[in-house]
Symmetry: C2
Subunit: 193 residues, 2 copies
């Protein structure tokens, strides 16, 4: 692989998490992160468009994954099955070491609005992608919107629950639990009319 230490992005991620956790996001300069990873500021910004993006690398793959999941679903799949195919593909796209990264990321997001803003934007990109894929299959854009919201909610809350666990459970199981719970909540909402 040549002259340099491999996995510059991974090293920058670990450096950023460590320094943000220790000193806070604002007090940690990009130059310091780069130096901690054995690189320079210039190189950091060649790999990432901005400082926040260090923490969210790989999320763009999730947009592709959720669409691929829906597209690959059987032709006769019901709406709820399409959603589940999408979020299952999302779960499969996870490297398992995200179990550890996620636990460290959480307090950083809680402490830093700037990072929450980026996280929200990523979530919204996933939602829009799922919505588009569902609309293609269902023909009804409003049904697609509703289902996309549920699917992404189930995914994020399933992810949060899974992160709190010890890692012995599968992410998809947590997400399936959430999907079922939302299905039930939605049904109750209609039955009470």
């Amino acid at each position: 692989m040549g002259r340099w230490e491999p996995d510059a992005r991974g090293r920058l991620l670990r450096a950023a998490i460590e320094l943000f956790t220790e000193h806070g996001y604002d007090a940690t300069t990009a130059a310091r992160i780069a130096a901690h990873a054995g690189l320079t500021k210039t190189t950091l910004f060649r790999h990432f468009a901005d400082k926040r993006e260090i923490l969210f690398q790989g999320q763009d793959a999730l947009v592709a994954a959720v669409v691929a999941g829906v597209v690959a679903a059987p032709a006769d799949a019901a709406p709820a099955e399409l959603v589940r195919a999408g979020v299952a593909s999302l779960c499969a796209a996870h490297a398992d070491d995200l179990h550890d990264v996620g636990r460290l990321l959480d307090p950083l997001l809680a402490a830093t609005p700037e990072l929450r803003e980026r996280a929200t934007f990523k979530r919204s990109a996933i939602t829009e992608a799922l919505e588009g894929a569902l609309a293609d299959r269902l023909g009804d854009p409003r049904q697609a919107g509703l289902l996309a919201d549920v699917g992404v909610r189930a995914y994020y809350e399933g992810y949060a629950a899974w992160m709190l666990g010890d890692g012995s459970n599968a992410l998809l199981d947590s997400v399936d639990d959430e999907l079922a719970a939302y299905e039930s909540a939605s049904r109750r909402l209609h039955d009470d009319d």
Copy 2:
């Protein structure tokens, strides 16, 4: 009102829209916006935390409005009525001149991911506020989440439709149409099971 031209924020808003539209967001410096509004860069940043916030001033009032709407709803209101109370309050919080501002804002958002990110964050803040208010009334956080998503969807799409019109229709009418359409889409989703 005293020694200075009034409505510094409004002047900065108009200056920003005009210059962003003409030269693009990136090519327009904060100093240029300030000068165009008859102010200095220092003053601009006294009014707004960052450059993007110029365009989204007032959105924080929407967070308070949506909560107030739900809180003020009758004690025996059904879930759907709580949602409608929240988004109706959102609509009432609008100054009508937003009809014009919105039309100019739209192409800017389309052209500038940075601005879309901020817009997404504001939408998310409204959603979370509505979700919290609904959870307080309903007791069920998952129902609250589902309903908050529908309500905010209806509001944003109603707003988009209203903006395309000539201004003779009321915003709330557009939003009500969307609420009804989502209600129907949701019902179809369940009946097809």
